[in-house]
């Protein structure tokens, strides 16, 4: 029981951590730039803002991880979390 409680507490901490990271990405993002992108790239950028997952965002965009990383820098989205 104690181990389960400890695990829940750790998971809660991680949930809060990822929420904080999401807020930072939302705050810094250049939304004008993002909204001006074609749907495939816009959706991928929005997904990255919400989840912080570079790998799947790149797959959504049809790019390599590194190419998508250059796009997220152009979009002003910090890599955080």
């Amino acid at each position: 029981m104690e181990a389960m409680g400890e695990l829940s507490a750790k998971l809660r901490e991680w949930i809060e951590y990822f929420e904080e990271a999401r807020e930072v990405r939302r705050r810094f993002a250049n939304w004008e730039f993002i909204k001006s992108q074609p749907p495939k790239l816009r959706v991928a950028l929005e997904y990255f803002i919400e989840v912080g997952d570079l790998y799947n965002a790149a797959k959504l965009a049809g790019m390599s991880v590194e190419e998508f990383n250059e796009l997220r820098i152009k979009a002003g989205i910090p890599s955080v979390g």
């Binding site: 695990l7 750790k10 998971l11 991680w14 949930i15 951590y17 990822f18 904080e20 990271a21 930072v24 810094f28 989840v51 912080g52 997952d53 570079l54 790998y55 799947n56 790149a58 390599s64 991880v65 590194e66 190419e67 990383n69 250059e70 820098i73 910090p78 890599s79 955080v80 979390g81």
Partner: protein
């Protein structure tokens, strides 16, 4: 301190942008790059950094090992059942290899960090972000100021660390 490490894409694409990236080899004799990670690298900057590292014997390409590959896929599936950010295949592969071969795992992926807290199979794996590496470089005297170096790193890579990340090194910042 591990003498060898395995790095994923999220770490390499940032680290290669850092002007003092060679400092990594003050901490590790060899850094392995899985084939699947290498396939994701496209920019001239990162590829040149990797090519130089390979030439100098500081980097090595890690082939896909079937057993590690299978376990990495199982880890990806397990991580998706929890309400935290899951791990994807490249980080999962690095975690499995890190555990099996005793290598430090270099990643910026928060999901990979979280795994150690919920999966006992990976609790002992050493997972390091650039923040941790810069701290160690400072402790060993390879950089003058941890805070200043971190500022340089964040500026050059457009990576940010949260207040929670920085709290771990509160006294040193």
């Amino acid at each position: 301190m591990s003498a060898s490490a395995v790095a994923d894409t999220s770490f390499l694409i940032d680290w290669a942008r850092y002007s003092r990236s060679k400092l990594l080899f003050k901490l590790f004799d060899v850094v392995f790059i899985p084939e699947s990670v290498l396939a994701e690298l496209r920019s001239e900057r990162t590829l040149t950094w990797v090519a130089q590292g390979l030439e100098e014997g500081k980097l090595a390409v890690l082939p896909e090992l079937p057993d590690a590959s299978r376990e990495a896929l199982q880890l990806v599936a397990r991580s998706r059942r929890l309400p935290v950010r899951p791990v994807d295949y490249p980080e999962a592969y690095c975690l499995v290899v890190g555990r099996e071969l005793g290598y430090a795992v270099l990643t910026e992926n928060g999901g990979a960090l979280a795994v150690r807290d919920y999966d006992p199979n990976f609790a002992s794996v050493e997972v390091l972000r650039a923040l941790d590496i810069l701290y160690r470089l400072w402790k060993l005297g390879h950089v003058e100021s941890f805070r200043r170096e971190l500022e340089v790193y964040e500026r050059e890579t457009k990576r940010l660390y949260t207040a929670r990340d920085l709290a771990k090194y509160g006294d040193a910042l």
